[in-house]
Symmetry: C2
Subunit: 527 residues, 2 copies
Amino acid sequence: MLWSGWGDPAKASDLPGPVRKLLEDLLGVRAPETPAADLAEIRPPAPALPPAVLDELRAVIGPEHVRADDETRIRHARGRSTPDLMRLRAGDVSGAPDAVLLPGSHDEVVELLRVCAARRVAVVPFGGGTSVVGGLTADGGVMERYAGLVALDLARLNRLVAVDPESMVAELEPGLRGPQAEELLARHGLTLGHFPQSFEYATLGGFAAARSSGQASAGYGRFDDLVVGMTVATPRGTLELGRAPKSAAGPDLRQVILGSEGAFGVITSLRLRVRPAPRVRLYEGWRFASFAEGVAALRRLAQDGPPPTVLRLSDETETMVGLAKPGAIGASASGGGCLVVTGYEGAEEETRLRRERTAEVLAGLGGTPLGAEPGESWAHGRYSAPYLRDSLLAAGATVETLETAAFWSGLPRLYDAVRLALHGALGSPLVMCHISHVYATGASLYFTVVTAQSGDPLAQWEAAKHAASEAIVAAGGTISHHHGVGRDHLDAYAAEIGELGVEILRGIKERLDPEGVLNPGVLIPSD
Amino acid sequence: MLWSGWGDPAKASDLPGPVRKLLEDLLGVRAPETPAADLAEIRPPAPALPPAVLDELRAVIGPEHVRADDETRIRHARGRSTPDLMRLRAGDVSGAPDAVLLPGSHDEVVELLRVCAARRVAVVPFGGGTSVVGGLTADGGVMERYAGLVALDLARLNRLVAVDPESMVAELEPGLRGPQAEELLARHGLTLGHFPQSFEYATLGGFAAARSSGQASAGYGRFDDLVVGMTVATPRGTLELGRAPKSAAGPDLRQVILGSEGAFGVITSLRLRVRPAPRVRLYEGWRFASFAEGVAALRRLAQDGPPPTVLRLSDETETMVGLAKPGAIGASASGGGCLVVTGYEGAEEETRLRRERTAEVLAGLGGTPLGAEPGESWAHGRYSAPYLRDSLLAAGATVETLETAAFWSGLPRLYDAVRLALHGALGSPLVMCHISHVYATGASLYFTVVTAQSGDPLAQWEAAKHAASEAIVAAGGTISHHHGVGRDHLDAYAAEIGELGVEILRGIKERLDPEGVLNPGVLIPSD
């Protein structure tokens, strides 16, 4: 992974000419004056961790699994939000951990947490490092309250532990990245069906801890739907959850750890629902005259089911720009209106029937079939948007995404409110939106914002993000459908769950992590 | 509701001759020597609640909504487990509350809880009073630790507040009994589709607080699946949850209240997913040669979906006795093997397709179609088993149910373990089992036990229940799939979630109910 950007450096590409021209003409984007920082030339801050504690940690997992070199520390300093990238590109690695720990087993994680709690060392659990909500950067106050800061990198917990083909459950370790997990499962003819945009780099542990939702959620469900059991390491020992798919034995404690973002414990094993690898994968495009008509069609599919495996509706602006097909942006072959991408994965006959039924509903509600091209083009470019962001940042544009969800009847108001807030804060940004996760009772809204940088680009974006978050809270949406809370959503999250909701989190935190060493500053507002 | 039994006294019936003979010949059941207690002749214990506190409570909701007469107190003393009924029939109403409070609004509930916390009065939230796990009886230590005990009866919170037809969400109050809720929704052409055996008496609040699962769960899902939002009153104020169907904003706090059995707060409003009332309702029967073959067929339907709306498999013993058709027990028309009941509810075309597909799968896996009769007969008698229990108790037999769930691969071991434990504890009981809730990864097991009473029938059953619970824990099942924890499952539940799981509950309890007045002794093991 690029240290200050996304993915494989070999896949980075310059912006196509038409896009560059669009940015200049439409948004007034100008190339930045200062070049991005060079990894070789920046240094993380002097480590605070006492050498004796470092030795204690080395004794637990072996010295070769404790890294304190500059590059490793820098690579664990931040996530992959646009503010993260802006800071990295400016050479700001102030959040870098003092050391990176690479445990090899659940017991080692428990022991590391015990030592860190005893020595008051803050611990940031680290999976793929792809958080876009500030989930990986301990707060500025950490150095005062703690003796040091370590990242707990789960990369070595990367096994497929067991497959239970009868129950269609697989036990997998949290450090597996998306493609690694899929490859291991493919040998058994199985799939998780979880393909978020971060798929290539994010890990299973991160998917669970941050309640990820994949592009095929209409068919396979969210990641939290797939989790039937988990093992969790905490500073006070082990938590083992999930004896049955569903239970009436008290609150569902799995749902307390899902979304806990490393603040309650470290997930060291996951029992996940798996499915047969699909024999067929088909993607198509449809056009609707307006976003409202498209929304009505998606709602019908979500409520009457079974929906397609992939279901995505771009609004007019996103359709015009062609964002659903990053490889062909600016090609403007959309013909106006709003693009719907439908995907069908599964066994032949079942897939055929689902596709027929979906086509019938879409056509009946005013949709025009566009054939396979727009769908296949979307599928081809499904993981490439983050690369595009790096190119846009380099060209002097700010680009960032934010997302929310609400019940169907509240979506139009939420959509308007967020767009209004972003326009109010940024002047004339390009604001695009799509729906890519639907439920019987509601759906998500995913916004992509592009704007010319002006003044301090970080402060400029943070003001816009603040305005958008306030609009989401006021319009009754949730502050995140699948990105999580981290530090960036802390205030809006507290408003969303209210004082007593925050008290629930504090009550749990106090019992599982009494010294408060786990991911401080994330998820739980300080007292 | 009968004060010491089930349901409408007019519907009570004597045991049919063949059943009585079966009990005598097979199990050695003899008529009890002492008749059941008479409501008019028993008295609850003297109330402990100071009159000044009672006046304070009266001031909140009006004196007409605070009841302290003997009959009302007795009717709120216990739930409807067999031990509850045995105690009531013996005239033991020691758990009766000092008073019964009937608030009329959320704000009144909040205020009552505030007063009770300030005065250290224990509060048992009371919906339909149908708990079968001791969820309604405060523990024996209550009188020492508290100034008194009140039941908070939610019967007056019985409105359909709003319908959002676009989102297919209805807001309903928790005191609505199943049929009341369905009647109100039917006026809008809607249904919840939640039909547990307790349907006629249990309330929506109880369904949520105890994670109920209905007989049509294969099609409509569990009750917790239907809850998209809720308002909760606690001694510290109001908790408002659920801004979207799904969210990545932290742990799903709805899942903390669902299953909390009144120990964290009182649910005063529910936003529930609703569906169009079905146009078609069809039930059929199938026969499989063995339970194992039936299980394999159910698993196939659950994993390949879409499953029927109702899916129930009786084991050999339950099939032989004919328990799936309480109106025809002993008629012995089953022809051996194991009975499967399938039900299909929905729109015409969709229902027809689902039925065809299910028939194909069942026939392909060795099932023999039995036509509509066994299914319709099941549907006809679906709520009558609790009436049968009263007749059996009167005849001198002990009958009780218990249930669990596990992943598919663990079901056979769990099934054997529970049966072995019950036989070990009771000698030669009749142990019947069915599966009525299926998931892609596992299913529930529901046992019905009938035995002759010997010695102290209560102690006899409690020993058997203890053995069965230990067997469930040891075999890796959950202690309850849809009955809940209450007081009866406290030890097994603590073993299931472990020390840190219990700590999570304590941490939440401490923050929402610092004085510990809510349903003491239920759900959370004492320190």
